[in-house]
Amino acid sequence: MNIVITMIRLAIRALLAYKVRSLLTMLGIIIGIGSVIVMISVGRGANESIQKQIQSLGANMLMIFSGSSQSGGVRGGFGSAPTLTIRDAQAIEKECPSTLNVTYVLGASTQLVAGKKNWGTRSWGTTANYNLVRDWQVKDGEFITEQHFRSAAGVAVLGSSVAENLFEPGEQAVGQQIRIKNVPFRVIGIMQTRGRTPSGQDNDDTVLVPYTTMSRKLVGDRLPGLVHFIMVSAQSQALVETLKQEVEELLRQRHKILPGMTDDFTVRTLDEYANMAGKTTNTMTMLLTAVAAISLLVGGIGIMNIMLVSVTERTREIGIRMAVGARSRDVLVQFLVEAMVISLIGGILGTVIGVATAIAISALAGWATIISLDSILLATLFSGAVGIFFGFYPARKASRLDPIEALRYE
């Protein structure tokens, strides 16, 4: 015990004797560990905000769209001709026992006019329980009702971005008349603000009208009974996967898809979206980690270099220690401890700088960053390991010196 404490004290003394040199030696480690900390915290922050955005799509929700997942991709529904119908949605509601609510949407690009203001966005025709499935309420006015649906009423619910673009701040939007594709609509509600989707689209840049109105007045019955998306919520989180299977089975039956044929629809759970987004951020994290690893490698080589210089400079000291009874291993450990102290101090400085940078990034750039204890511990352990790894060769060289030659060294 004595000897380890003494060695750490001696190592710190040796570092202090050459302050500038020690600092330069540590620089690689400081930068390496600092960037590891920044990268992990930015990566985790990004991941968590993406996961949050995905959960904001709806509670326990399934998305069903036209086209097979192989050919269609995430944005299906527009890429391929719609194959889903209102009847599919109604069948799901009736025949899939795990269903809680079902809604569907039919979209169209539309031009909106309110007074002298213009705004182009996609409008969606949907049902009265859309807000339940998406877990998304109005902040002003009311949502589309069964009554509006049945009578194909000319009513619209605006996303908050659309409302901002069509009306002056502070102006009462609910109750106003607007025109969608020149058809008059009355604004009956404004949705709560929801922010961006994982792919960066504005959730709030949207207009919702009754499906019946959409179908008859805006798309002109070009797509009778067809829908772009069906959204289904499960009765519980645990039933999401079961519901997915029930829906797939039912739709295959209804669309007459035999075993071996490709589905003409895709069912996605939010978990699948989350995983897809996770993959992207993982790639980013890996790339950044590679950068950090390279700077740690450079830092480690710097330590090896300085330790080799130090072993040569202190040949005589090594001879003295051996003469008074230090075994090879004692000398080895001494130089390993020194290399480790350098890289640990470098690691601690790097951690402090990394944490400060992460905080600065989230304050200045507004990115979400997560600083976690385990990433700090990991960085510290890692810097110690770098010291041991790169300190080993110089330390072994020191431990193998011949005592007499070492004592004779000038």
């Binding site: 015990m1 000897i3 003394r13 003469a323 008074v324 230090a326």
Partner: protein, 237 residues
């Protein structure tokens, strides 16, 4: 009669060199007994330092036999050599060989750090050793803040710290003025009075006169082995 603490039989040391190898010891037979105060003398290049390094287990023989404290140490591992040096041998060098960044007291404690099993009362023991050589009020000084004679006293305290059976000194007065050299020799003589075996390598005849036995080397062989009769408490054959 005591057993010898050091016993060489046909000791040879050959330094392999490119071309012709150097035979530094060419068959040395010598026994050194506990409590002796002995000088190894001879001209430069005669093999004095080589003999001391091997006797002090800093180096190994090429040929022959070496018994230390009755144990055959001719071909033991480096770690065993280190342990014997640590517990039984104290070294004093011409150039003091103190660690420049460590205080006098820390230098004295150095051999204790490597002692197995470890000892706890480092500070008391090192202060006591410093007191023995009259350096107790310089304990926190760095070597650079001490005179040559003072540094050599610290080195003697370091040699004493693990209570060795043997102290080996290679030209201990070589870097000191005559007066200081005499003081160091007096210190060594008083340690000898206390029963410690002391071996001094020197080419200085005045230093040699202070000892009780002188071995003269020439070209790697013992030329002469002189004993002084009026020894006090000397147990030589």
């Amino acid at each position: 009669m005591d057993k010898p603490v050091i016993s060489f039989k046909g000791a040879k040391k050959i330094y392999p060199m490119a071309g012709e190898s150097v035979e530094a010891l060419r068959g040395v037979d010598v026994d050194i007994y506990p409590g002796e105060f002995l000088a190894i003398m001879g001209p430069s290049g005669s093999g004095k330092s080589t003999l001391m390094h091997i006797a002090g287990l800093l180096d190994s023989l090429t040929e022959g036999k070496y018994l230390f404290d009755g144990e055959d140490v001719s071909f033991i591992s480096r770690d065993k050599q280190a342990d014997i040096r640590n517990r039984k041998i104290g070294f004093i060098f011409q150039s003091f060989n103190l660690l420049a960044r460590c205080s006098a007291q820390e230098n004295v404690e150095l051999p204790m750090l490597y002692r197995r099993p470890a000892e706890s009362n480092l500070h008391e023991k090192s202060m006591e050793a410093l007191r023995t050589v009259g350096m107790e009020n310089r304990a926190s000084h760095l070597p650079a803040q001490l005179s040559g004679g003072q540094q050599q006293r610290v080195a003697i305290a370091r040699a004493l710290i693990n209570s060795p059976t043997l102290i080996m000194a290679d030209e201990p007065t070589g870097n000191l003025d005559t007066k200081t050299g005499k003081e160091i020799m007096n210190t060594l003589a008083s340690l000898h009075e206390e029963g410690i075996t002391i071996i001094i390598v020197t080419h200085d005849h005045e230093v040699g006169q202070a000892t009780r036995r002188r071995i003269f080397l020439r070209d790697g062989l013992i030329e002469r082995d002189e004993r002084q009769a009026q020894s006090s408490g000397l147990t030589s054959p």
